[in-house]
């Protein structure tokens, strides 16, 4: 191509570091990180953001997104984010949590954070397994799904049912925005970005608590190829975890 004819159509978000990630091939964390970084850029928040990291595959978010960051104990990110936001209400504060972190050990923290209507944004990555520790059963593991600690498949009479966090949090008065999205195809990625920006907006406009649940693939622990994992999002996850907006106070 001749000089001058080049047209940049796709580039690294400004607030993202240009380094390889530790994520497995086909993992959706990378896409979700990128969407978060784009949203930070589009709202021009890089200089003003404080990120709360959590425990799980997402722990290294502070290596990838170039913003001030603090690490929370397992499940406690919403409490840490509360402390940060109360201390510095002028900052944009978000936490990024996986399903074990948010929906199991940290269920109390997320419910109460949302219920207080904390002006924070929580990004929740639901891939139906504990990824970092090697694919154990998560609170979002589907009934029948085999994991290293549900070798016979999740049994509803013993382990109960997967938690629908976007619906649960959407039902709370303090929640200003709650949605479930997926990033398994371009169309869904675009929708996801729109939802994510709304979850930012409710904080920026001081409306309330913002929440987005991402259905995410974990080919490694699902023992699938990235393509099959992508398909599973559509065929197995979405029927139980429907995409949609469960609360939107912006449009009220």
């Amino acid at each position: 191509m001749n000089p001058g004819q080049e047209k940049l159509v796709y580039t690294l978000p400004k607030c993202m570091n240009d380094i390889p990630t530790h994520f497995c091939p086909g993992c959706h964390h990378g896409i979700i990180h990128r969407l978060v970084a784009q949203a930070i850029d589009e709202f021009d928040l890089q200089d003003n953001t404080i990120c709360v990291g959590s425990v799980g595959c997402s722990v290294f978010i502070y290596n990838y997104i170039d913003v001030d960051s603090v690490e929370a104990p397992h499940g406690r990110a919403p409490a840490v984010a509360t402390g940060v936001k109360r201390a510095r209400p002028e900052n944009f504060v978000f936490a990024y949590q996986g399903d074990g972190d948010l929906a199991a050990i940290g269920l109390s923290e997320i419910i109460h954070c949302a219920n207080r209507g904390e002006r924070v944004t929580i990004i929740f990555v639901n891939n139906t397994v504990y990824g970092m520790t090697g694919g154990q059963m998560a609170p979002t593991t589907l009934v029948g799904q085999k994991t290293t600690t549900s070798p016979y498949g999740r049994r509803e009479d013993k382990e109960g049912y997967p938690l629908k966090m976007a619906e649960i949090l959407g039902s709370l008065e303090g929640t200003a925005f709650s949605a479930r999205v997926a990033v398994n195809n371009i169309k869904n990625i675009l929708k996801a970005k729109k939802a994510l920006k709304k979850a930012f907006q409710v904080q920026l406009q001081d409306i309330g608590f913002g929440f987005v649940e991402f259905l995410s693939a974990c080919p490694t622990n699902w023992h699938m190829s990235p393509l099959d994992a992508n398909k599973r999002i559509e065929t197995e996850l979405m029927p139980y975890f429907p995409l949609g907006i469960f609360k939107d106070k912006i449009n009220e």
Binding site: D68, V70, R76, A79, R86, I111
Partner: protein
């Protein structure tokens, strides 16, 4: 210093809350538990009136993690609780220590183990001075014995927390929390807007990104981190604090802390009245512990007895201090027993034989 030297008659718990106000606390997060609920009751009223942040958290775990978040922003942040609640906070305290953040934690203890009861107990000495949570860390531990000290040491705790970027724990009990005594407020509340400017999170505008964390996976990194922490804990010895009460000419020294430390003073006076030269050595910093001073006193030929409201915890530190010089007597009032000066007369007398 304030011109207003008016004395206030307040509970130890209130003295701590007032000390927190005058010490510049900006964010306070807590969960109610007896016998310290006067602290959240006072601060929910007074701190909020001053424009500070108060959240009654959903749990002890959430409250300590809110402290972590506020501390990461360089704010003077505090939580308070009582023994079972402090157990729940240990995870967060470990992370705060590991991330090298300043925080003040108040423990107005209950008896244990388990739910125990609200009677006095010094059963949390080990938990307080040995870190308390997982990992090889230490918190600074301050043990007041008067309501004035509750006030003074809370102010000092904030300064120490920022000096060392480390959690500082105040260890009191229900006697101290519930008794009233006059205090003098000597410190004017002031907020230093630049505190922690070199490490706190504000958003990265105009500088490089800051990461406050306790995860060290790279080879050698955790080792280096622990070495740095170890050196920091050693350096805390420059802030050792203790009280010597009639120690100079004493033949027997009773070592006791907190409420027992003051009750034993009354015993010592009674015994002096009977012609027995008794002194009291009261450690005020429990970590770091004044090993060297106790050793010095032992070298001058004095005898020691440790008196505690537990089955024998601080006595281990006293014995470490005395190691090889002399032995240390020990007398225990079980957690749950309300101690009086009379309880300690015979055990101290026995040391003279």
């Amino acid at each position: 210093m304030s011109e207003n030297k008016e004395r206030l008659l307040v509970k130890g718990n209130e003295a701590i809350a007032i000390g927190a106000i005058d010490g510049g606390v900006e964010c306070y997060f807590a969960y109610p538990i007896t016998p310290q609920s006067d602290i959240p009751e006072y601060l929910s009223r007074e701190l909020v009136r001053l424009g500070g942040e108060f959240v009654q958290a959903e749990s002890e775990i959430a409250s300590i993690n809110m402290v972590l978040g506020a501390a990461a922003c360089g704010k003077r942040a505090m939580t308070s609780s009582s023994s079972p609640g402090i157990s729940l906070k240990q995870e967060g305290i470990s992370y705060i220590a590991g991330s090298e953040l300043p925080a003040v934690i108040i423990n107005i203890t209950r008896g244990g183990p388990g739910l125990g009861g609200i009677q006095p107990s010094q059963g949390d000495y080990f938990q307080s001075t040995r870190g308390g949570g997982h990992g090889d860390y230490r918190t600074m531990v301050l043990a007041p014995s008067t309501c004035q000290e509750c006030y003074d040491l809370t102010i000092w705790a904030f300064d120490l927390a920022f000096k060392y970027r480390n959690p500082v724990l105040i260890l009191g009990d229900a006697i101290l929390g519930q008794m009233k005594e006059p205090i003098t407020r000597w410190k004017e509340r002031e907020i230093n807007p630049n505190e922690g400017a070199e490490w706190r999170l504000t958003g990265k505008k105009g500088r490089k990104q800051r990461i406050l964390k306790s995860l060290y996976l790279d080879e050698g990194a955790m080792e280096q981190h622990n070495l740095r922490l170890y050196k920091k804990y050693k350096s805390m010895e420059t802030d050792l604090k203790w009280e010597e009460f009639m120690v100079q000419d004493a033949d027997v020294i009773a070592v006791a802390f907190g409420s027992i430390g003051r009750i034993v003073k009354s015993t010592a006076r009674k015994l002096r009245g009977q012609g027995l030269k008794v002194g009291v050595f009261r450690p005020i910093t429990l970590f770091p512990f004044p090993y060297e001073r106790i050793r010095e006193l032992a070298r001058s030929g004095k005898k020691f007895i440790t008196i505690e409201n537990n089955t024998g915890q601080m006595v281990e530190d006293v014995k470490l201090a005395l190691c090889g010089i002399c032995d240390c007597g020990f007398f225990a009032n079980m957690p749950g027993k309300v101690s009086t000066p009379e309880d300690f007369i015979q055990p101290i007398k026995d040391q003279f034989n």
